[in-house]
Symmetry: none
Subunit: 136 residues, 4 copies
């Protein structure tokens, strides 16, 4: 699925949601090598600022990549850049919704600039930032 | 493992390396929902600009998180923000080395700003950017 | 499947075989936290004594556990102890056969002592040792 | 990361901790073929001596391998042998800490003998044994 560059409009939005399971965090730790005890050691995490194991911030950032690469602009997009501010922790069982919205079309280079936000099931922002994507 | 804020110095560096396997890409696709055919459809990918399946840019970005969270500053770090420029594709079998280097210490807030670079086995940069991390 | 203690005889044997894939090694690294570059960094491994990535020795040891727990003595067995000598490396694509053989029945405690061997597809021993198992 | 043989001292210690998740047990079962119902069948396990599903003993043994291969002696170590006594079961959600301690340096062969212990979050030993490792 892809929206052609010509049809993209400022204000277009798309989202993807997933509940973050323990297995997501554990597999992500293995893929990336990030076995920080905040993510995989419940005893350590209980004494940490968050009080329990939390997901890797970058894991939730992947949901932004999922929206950009499969929905808006979609297949064939090339990811140029991303900024990420990690605002709040994601805990096991949280449902994260990544939403992207077209902020600007850069006609000469067939690129779009988008706001990229991840929120949890209570509507609390956990990540915010911007992406720059080249359209197919 | 963690380097105490007091001992961190501008110029301190740490790295982590991993060969990106097909299984990394497939598991990452499942965790994040990013089933963009550029990553998981070899027929589609053969006709794409890269000529073969490529890893998600955000997957390699996770190696940066691994260095920050397990080596420098290490355990107990809180990830505040990250910028990412995706410069070149990562293909199956590429070995990616993520390297972080302390650029600035922000004493008042116990934060450090670091350059964050991912390179492949030929020394070609695939990602560059900066991170801001709160120290334990 | 389980062989009742009364029917077990010295000399009884059972085996399990599996080809070790890259994904096995990568998942095992994530489960255990053993991201030693000898297992997950092909560039590092190329310069190592083995010349390429090798499987974790303990991964192949798991095939012994599989035979003991599912075939001989089988379901309901309780693993008491294991000795392991790691003799040769296991490479991606090697097919490992774990074979256990009853060496002794310890009637009073319903335990059996078994030899435990893992061989590759060329019949080369990669692990040898002994197990002590309490029967159901 | 590796401690050079020359700097290793009797009494040196290192640890690694991880909370054992259901996903660890299930993935480990798939990697090794050890689908013993004690590990993957909650109905069977409820009627067993342990009353619930338990992790494979060999899974926790992998944490020992992780410490040896990534911390002490670290990268480049070659695993020669391991003895394992399985003392107590590991249940889903238990946090296991593997600790290795140098018992002896064998100068002529650049080998070290280490005690290897896994404990749960209550300080109860679940595995004990010894490892022999050749240093890089």
């Amino acid at each position: 699925m892809a929206v052609p560059f010509e049809e993209l409009k400022v204000g277009d939005r798309a989202s993807f949601s997933k509940t973050v399971g323990e297995s997501d965090i554990y597999l992500y730790a293995g893929i990336t090598g990030d076995l920080n005890p905040a993510h995989v050691d419940s005893q350590y995490a209980a004494r940490s600022i968050f009080g329990e194991r939390v997901a890797h911030g970058m894991l939730s950032a992947g949901f932004i990549s999922a929206v950009l690469g499969t929905r808006l602009p979609g297949e064939g997009s090339i990811y140029m850049s991303q900024t990420l501010r990690f605002i709040a922790p994601v805990k096991i069982g949280d449902t994260i919704t990544a939403t992207v919205e077209v902020l600007e079309k850069i006609e000469a280079k067939r690129r779009v600039r988008l706001s990229t936000v991840c929120e949890n099931q209570r509507g609390q922002r956990v990540i915010e930032g911007e992406a720059l994507v080249m359209c197919p």
